[in-house]
Symmetry: C2
Subunit: 735 residues, 2 copies
């Protein structure tokens, strides 16, 4: 069959990505790692990071084993789940962890090399850092498509059912490995986020504020932990996070494809392949984009920015054309409309990215006003930061709302009547899902621009601690700033796609409910007095059957709890950071007072002790919030049934999305308000204004690096958990 041949493009693109990831890694390793001192510092950081990852994976491994056994019991003991679930779940977690591991290994090897290259020129520094970031980007997309390809081939070989039912069974089963990826990503984000912010806050509060030594000074006992934190939080955490987003969007859309074109196996297969093929072509375009990022020696910041922007924009624009081409070649019905859905998604991502940029960059009024409010002390900095963050939610939310409607309408040929009756709901949601896939398809390059920031940051830390010339630090700071600017679009895509993917997952939940009903022997459902065949029942039929409307008390209770979940989750992670930071502060104070000669540089601080405190704190603190995210959908399903679960998911999606934007933007704005003052405005470094903005930055740290980014994963994970335990919910529930 012709279509099956086309499918092999997917594993091929995946292997291509992995090959180039390896190629760039080798290239980076060949660079000089600099002086003995630089190598020593890098080794400290690398050891600390690896020790953390080892510990983290041990804990997460236990969680995975327990959950797999639970799923195995559900599948083999009670028969409320298919038997592939435990295995798919494990591989999702494994590949996600692997992506984080490779990314972090690369980053810890790259930092000293970037510093060394930056000694030569800004451009050399950029090359090493950016190519190392590309290793991460390509690893994530490569492993993602590899896992998808392998599971598709396995399930396609073993699952036996009629053609249409087979694809539905395959795609919903594959969502299980999405759940594995999401679970591991949540642990990585939360654990890494707590680690990095505990170390950061601890190092800043005692080192910078109390002892008055500069950032990344080797005399600060927490400085190695701080640099390790950048790697485990910003690199490994982000890698796992985006692996989860990438796979999630493709898998959810594939499942929707199976449902939108149900009954016509040939077209259905095309609908399932389309998101995978778009992702595969996205890899090729990303690779071309990455190679385009190169400049002549001795160019300015402006030129570098242009070069980076060129690569990213090239890939994003070409993916639009490629989508039209792929859908046309596949011969999917209404291929023009569905392609336009992708355009809608990309435009929405760009608008969200621009709005993020406006609210968080100190080139614009909002952040400057936060900086200005430091004239009346830290309290007004906090008030105006929170105010700005809250207001900044408006544009992204309105954008996503409009994008949802437009992507939907576009996919069903702008038939408003049809949208209102919900006749063609799966098709409309397919449009929404494929818009998310479009936004993430060039992740290979957008993640590269995201991940090279922390690498440059670490290079700066290495330069500082190794006592390199101040110009090196200036150059790495410039690279870091450059990364922040180009990362805006990437962030817009990540946030927007999370919301769209979560919506697509809701439809998959209904699909899984269908399968669970059939498995439980319920072949028809009662829709307003008519008996409707479960296999051919539409989503609106299920909405009617389960009374999933806004006046059902079960739905309302679920929605309240869902809205609260996002808040509670953020509260738990914020408190966790607070507690872990407290312990770090006490340890750093203890070392300053008990180990004589630290501040004069005569004695070496006990770095390892600080690393250990952060590691233990993160491990200890990440469990309650993460396990809660897994347990609550199961509990709500058990008490309130299917309608309660849908309420829960929508409640957590709507409030969680807004909360995530608020936290990310408030945190980003505080960070840049501080940088604005540090650039010499309002009295500059050391002034009262600076101290006030440092308070804002410290508060913003867990906002933007722990709680905020974890929320995007939380939303999707709760959906995936609900999908995986749908059989359980259908079989047993109280109300």
């Amino acid at each position: 069959m012709e279509n099956n041949v086309i499918f092999y493009l997917v594993p091929a693109a995946s292997l291509l990505a992995l090959f180039f990831a390896f190629y760039f890694f080798r290239q980076m390793i060949r660079q000089s790692e600099g002086t003995a001192r630089m190598r020593e510092i890098a080794l400290y950081v690398r050891k600390g990071a690896m020790a953390y990852l080892k510990q983290q994976y041990k804990v997460v491994g236990i969680v995975f084993i327990v959950l797999s056994v639970f799923f195995a019991i559900l599948a083999y003991g009670f028969g409320v789940q298919n038997g592939w679930v435990p295995f798919a779940f494990l591989t999702g977690g494994f590949f996600s962890g692997l992506a984080g591991f490779i990314g972090m290994k690369t980053a810890t090897y790259a930092s000293a090399r970037t510093a060394c290259a930056a000694e030569k020129s800004l451009n050399s520094g950029l090359k090493v850092a950016f190519r190392s970031g590309a290793v991460m980007g390509l690893t994530v997309v490569g492993l993602g498509l590899l896992d998808i390809s392998i599971w598709y081939l396995i399930l396609n070989h073993f699952v036996e059912a009629t053609a249409s039912q087979k694809l539905t069974a395959i795609t919903t089963t594959m969502l299980t490995f999405g759940m594995g990826a999401s679970t591991q990503a949540l642990f990585a984000r939360v654990g890494g986020g707590i680690y990095t912010k505990a170390a950061d806050v601890g190092a800043d509060l005692v080192g910078k504020v109390e002892a008055g030594i500069p950032e990344d000074d080797a005399r600060n006992p927490a400085t190695i932990a701080d640099n390790v934190g950048d790697n485990v939080g910003d690199v490994a955490g982000m890698g796992a996070d985006l692996y989860e987003s990438y796979c999630g969007s493709i898998l959810a859309t594939a499942a929707l494809g199976a449902s939108a074109f149900y009954g016509n196996p040939d077209v259905q297969l095309k609908g399932v392949f389309a998101p995978m093929l778009i992702a595969a072509v996205g890899i090729i375009l990303s690779l071309i984009g990455i190679f385009m990022v190169r400049t002549k020696e001795n160019v300015g910041m402006r030129q570098l920015l242009k070069s980076l922007g060129l690569g990213v924009n090239f890939s994003s624009m070409l993916i639009v054309l490629a989508t039209f081409g792929i859908l046309w070649l596949l011969g999917i019905p209404n291929w023009v409309g569905i392609s336009c859905s992708v355009v809608v998604g990309l435009l929405a991502g760009i608008v969200i990215g621009q709005s993020t940029e406006y609210y968080t960059s100190h080139s614009y009024r909002p952040t400057r006003k936060i900086a200005k409010s430091s004239e009346t002390g830290p309290a007004t900095v906090i008030i105006s930061g929170i105010g700005t963050g809250l207001v900044s939610t408006a544009i992204p939310v309105v954008t996503i709302s409009v994008a949802v409607i437009l992507a939907y309408l576009s996919a069903i040929g702008f038939d408003v009547r049809n949208m209102l009756t919900g006749e063609n709901l799966s098709m409309g949601l397919y449009g929404i899902g494929i818009a998310a896939v479009g936004m993430l398809s060039t992740l290979g390059i957008t993640l590269a621009t995201d991940a090279y920031g922390p690498i440059a940051d670490n290079a700066g830390g290495n330069a500082q601690m190794s006592g390199l010339d101040a110009t090196v630090r200036e150059r790495t700071d410039m690279l870091d700033a450059l990364g922040n600017t180009t990362a805006a679009t990437g962030k817009g895509f990540a946030i927007g796609s999370a919301a769209l993917t979560a919506l697509a997952l809701l439809a998959s939940y209904i699909e899984e409910i269908k399968i669970a009903l059939v498995r439980a022997g319920e072949l028809t459902i009662d829709v307003a007095g008519r008996a409707v065949d479960v296999a051919t029942a539409s989503i609106p039929d299920f909405m009617e059957y389960y009374q999933v409307n806004l006046m059902n008390p079960n739905v309302l209770a679920g929605m309240f709890i869902g809205a609260m979940m996002s808040f509670l989750f953020c509260g738990l992670t914020m408190n966790a950071v607070g507690r872990a930071a407290q312990k770090m502060v006490e340890e750093v104070r203890r070392q300053f007072s008990q180990i004589k000669g630290i501040l004069t540089g005569e004695a070496t601080p006990d770095y390892a002790r600080c690393v250990e405190i952060s590691t233990r704190g993160a491990q200890h603190e990440m469990l309650p919030s993460s396990l809660m995210a897994i347990a609550v959908p199961v509990i709500v399903g058990f008490i309130f049934g299917v309608s309660g679960v849908l309420g829960l998911l929508i409640g957590s999606l709507s409030s969680g999305f807004v909360l995530a934007v608020f936290m990310a933007n408030a945190g980003g704005a505080w960070d840049n308000a501080k940088k604005y003052v540090e650039e010499g405005n309002l009295g500059g470094k050391g002034s009262e204004c600076h101290k006030a903005t440092v308070v804002g930055d410290t508060v913003g740290d867990p906002f933007k690096d722990t709680s905020g980014p974890s929320l995007n994963i939380l939303i999707k994970l709760m959906s995936m958990v609900s999908i995986v335990v749908a059989g359980l919910t259908v079989a047993w529930h109280l109300l």
Copy 2:
């Protein structure tokens, strides 16, 4: 007709409340206002407060006239609304404003008198302050029932329709005056909140922190504005707020009664009267409770607390028995079950109140941990306060979710199957509504315990500025603290009832849609292929007809926007406080530097200028956020239609409720963490820890006194606006 006679209990109770309000007012006025200096200070505050209210009512008056004209055009020009709407809207606003005015007038007369009485003994002070608080409580409930009675009698006389349709028409029309009350309440809360916090933050930052003079010191130019602020924010704002809640719950439940017992005019009338009668009996119980609050001279704090608690608990418990009695006497079907719904509501209120107490009182761990985190500076105080506030949302939300289900099930006789099919939805929602009425029925006394806090606070300010003995200040501080403790239950009731009322209003929205459809000539709707008569169609029928399910893109877009609205609204109000406070800080600094001799007490500061700045700031800043709350439901209705509006309302309700709890609790916890340090812990007043907790308190001010409490009104106002413009939405919409 017997039932019509019973109705006259309602206006009778209303007049009784107003009579005793007047009686307590006269009693208070007869007390001595103290020395010339005390009278002078009180006069300053009174003048400032009245000047503000005059200005405020002028602006709000213009808004009301514009909106009334708009409604008149809709009604008389386009025929999409009934002709009573503009008038009912105006009276709602008028009575709400009147309640605020009387409460504030009383409070400004009471402060010096309370201080003077507190010179004698703690008990005397309590009596004056508490009885003055009771004036406010009784005025609110008296005016509320008066307005309800008058409108019921007018509409009952003029509206012509079949018996069942008549009551539906009357009760939904009466909701319009609820909208008037909510609109005025939102302006009062937002304007008052901005006023008081701008003055407070301004006075604290320059006076306390920079100049180092104590709170309420007469040398601080902003101190009069600060005391005025307590009156316009905490007294007038709270009065209007609770007037709105009180009327809203009764009106929404009456409308549900008309719908739940539709088709049986006799029972229907009972269903409409029941909430009004419960409120009427609540007034009598409140009065008894108020008279119970009296202690012997020279008793301790413990005894006072017991006395206050006795009055409140007596009323709350007896209202349960009274409800059983009223519903039994009326002979409402399933009167036991519906009465149990009230018990559920009261229990939920108590649980929420206790949880508020736990998270915000410094007798418990959470607030002490926030205080402890001050050892590492203001940043950790903010992080742990936000963390605690976020976590504190869990108990109230779970409680409300459980209460919704139980109140619903109880009202329909615990028939789970029936709940799931939504057959008897109006009846279940009636149970939810009547639970809210039960929670607010003893508002006469609970508001008295709430309102006397600010009066005691102001008395303390007066004592300080008049140079009275320090023991007087100590006593007023004790009274204030006492008020905070007893207010917890009242707050729990206010928060819980807001959520329940908002749910009840959703049902009223559907009723109004019915009426609008009939007016537009659409007599049948298409429910899953069947033509159903609009007049007899059930709520689930409408859910099906409009596809108000969780997968409809219109609903989803509405929900996203609704969730965002709460955040945006808080952001706008936070920023408004920030800007107004900034201006106040500049003015106070200017006076300190330009008017020589202020700090030595030789020159009098220009109090009036600060009052003017706060007034102008509040007027200027309250408009955008409040007008947005009115405009957005109209716009969403125009674009997304009925299903979009329902999504909007549920989205703003679920996220707004959680956000409101977060803001109130975080703000309360910061406040008490500061007080904990001021009581001598962690270094006490003036220590570094104290400074750090002052930052937390300042951030918490707009949280708990501006943005947080306004959210409860916002949620209901958006529902009421949607109800009032339902005709417009049905007639014209894009999607």
